[in-house]
């Protein structure tokens, strides 16, 4: 059975594994949807992440429903699950004006910009978690050839749309924020909540593909250098 530990007076954490694994997002997503359907009034919030599902429940229904929930958790199958997932395309301009850490990475890894773009953009990344901020999707896994740890000192401001790398993860910063990831490019897509539909742009288990674009296309579509 999956390990369940309390996280508060009306919340628990369910563990699906000990290590980050590309088979887990599908499993966690599927199970969280099953639970949401089975316990529409009892489950108030779910937060799927890399290896866990965090659940907030309605304390008023605790006596009636909690044991039933635990029984359901016992039924989680151990085998792999497949789910329908969406493919989300994100156009990215990989240029030195916007990719503030590109030069350092190219030098350190001894590769050309073309090499880098090919490696970063040829893969379909899996959404392992959404959080930190709305629309911030943690994507993995980045090819070992271009992995780089977080900056020692985070930048005070990273502009919205910036694409970053931190070890095996990559992500787009949806709004201007501070952050310590290595910035390698930028998209012109608006991912902020100024457009409320962006709230559900990424779901755990979705796939993301970065499509390289040139500077002209980036600027024509409203991208800011």
């Amino acid at each position: 059975m999956h390990k369940v530990i309390p996280a508060g007076e009306n919340s628990i954490l369910i563990y699906f594994g000990k290590e980050i694994d590309s088979s887990l997002p599908a499993k966690i997503k599927k199970f969280s949807e099953v639970l949401e359907k089975k316990f529409p009034n009892f489950l108030i919030e779910t937060i799927p992440s890399y290896t866990t599902l965090h659940i907030t429940y309605n304390l008023d229904l605790y006596k009636k429903k909690y044991n039933e929930l635990i029984e359901e958790i016992k039924k989680i199958p151990e085998n792999k699950t497949t789910i329908k997932s969406r493919l989300i395309n994100i156009p990215v301009y990989y240029g030195f004006e916007v990719g503030l850490d590109l030069e350092t990475i190219l030098k350190e890894k001894k590769i050309t910009l073309d090499d880098f773009v090919k490696i970063h953009s040829s893969k379909e990344y899996l959404v392992h978690a959404v959080g930190f901020s709305p629309c911030f999707a943690f994507l993995g896994k980045v090819d070992k050839k271009i992995q780089k740890p977080r900056l020692k000192t985070p930048r005070v401001e990273i502009s919205a749309g910036s694409v970053g790398i931190a070890e095996m993860q990559t992500a787009v910063y949806p709004i201007n924020s501070s952050g310590g990831w290595n910035i390698v490019g930028k998209t012109f897509l608006d991912m902020s909540l100024k457009n409320p539909l962006n709230i559900s742009k990424f779901n755990i288990g979705d796939r993301v593909k970065f499509n390289p674009i040139d500077k002209k296309t980036f600027i024509q579509n409203g991208g800011k250098l």
Binding site: I5, P6, S49, V130, F132, L193, P196
Partner: protein, 299 residues
């Protein structure tokens, strides 16, 4: 019918009970920092528990009443005045066109609440009127803002029966999350010392300073987090997660503060002392259930 903001003060924002159901998308609940004072403010007016109020941090807010209605003021003592006359808080009262409400300065505590009969009718986004500055949802009150309400009957005059004692320094904490992974000496260090509120306390988290708890470097995978959970950061200091905290994070958590004790924490000022004491989850649950029933909180 409305109020008009003459001076927005340091930081005043609209809050209702909060945004529910969006954590999976990375959007946290927001809502009042001091739930007890917030619920009491609505209760004094026989409002619904989810009616929007104004949360006033540190004072400075000045508001002109443009139509007769009933209000209530609870929470911190921010030197509340009506027409330049000091008025006791934790009561409801009737106000009239032309009255000026003023929260002059922080005397004791941090957050005060102004509720109006029927609640403030501001815009709803993702199911809630709560402002969330971190995510650019709504903004703090500005000069000349018009705050609409729909007043009807006036409740009978009454005052709060159970005013919280904000002098309380102990926060009850449940053994949750990574509690079992902390060593006995780390737990001892955590429970046997007084912590000080640092200047890095805000609506997202309350950072405490004290004798650091040294952690062995270990890899923790980011996971969903509960409001009130206490992270121990790399430098060994606790951070209590508050209403605007990020939804997921990768620091180990030594426990979760009982939801109603966050009210007391939120009212502490820079350099004030607090300490932690254990509480069972079952005990916290039954105390919270009594609170939910009293204030008719239905989610």
């Amino acid at each position: 019918m409305s109020f008009k903001v003459i001076n927005p003060g340091f930081s005043s924002s609209i809050q209702d009970y909060g945004r529910i159901g969006y954590k999976k998308y990375g959007l946290n609940q927001a809502g009042p920092m001091d739930e007890i004072a917030y619920c009491e403010a609505n209760h004094l007016l026989e409002n619904n528990f989810n009616n929007a109020v104004i949360e006033i941090a540190f004072g400075g807010l000045e508001i002109k009443v443009e139509a007769e209605t009933s209000i209530s003021v609870t929470g911190a003592d921010l030197d509340f005045e009506v027409n330049n006359k000091k008025i006791p808080i934790w009561k409801n009262l009737q106000v009239f066109k032309g009255d000026v409400l003023k929260w002059k300065k922080a005397v004791k505590g941090t957050y005060s609440y102004l509720a109006v009969k029927g609640g403030f009718q501001t815009g709803i986004l993702f199911g809630s009127r709560s402002t969330n500055i971190r995510e650019n949802i709504g903004e703090n009150l500005k000069k000349n803002d018009i705050l609409k309400f729909k007043s009807s009957n006036f409740p009978i005059s009454r005052s709060s029966k159970n005013i919280p004692n904000y002098e309380k320094k102990s926060l009850r904490i449940m053994p949750t999350c990574q509690f079992q992974k902390f060593t006995n000496s780390q737990k001892k260090a955590f429970f046997n010392q007084g912590y000080t509120i640092s200047n890095l306390a805000n609506r997202a988290g309350c950072r405490l300073t004290g004798k650091p708890i040294m952690l062995k470097k270990s890899k923790m995978i980011s996971e969903g987090m509960s409001c009130g959970s206490v992270q121990i950061s790399n430098d060994g200091y606790p951070i209590v997660l508050m209403k605007d905290a990020p939804t997921i994070g990768g620091y180990p958590k030594i426990g979760t503060v009982f939801s109603l004790d966050l009210s007391f924490l939120s009212q502490k000022k820079l350099n004030e002392k607090i300490y932690f004491e254990p509480i069972d989850i079952e005990e916290a649950q039954s105390k919270r259930l009594i609170f939910n029933k009293h204030f008719k909180i239905h989610l």
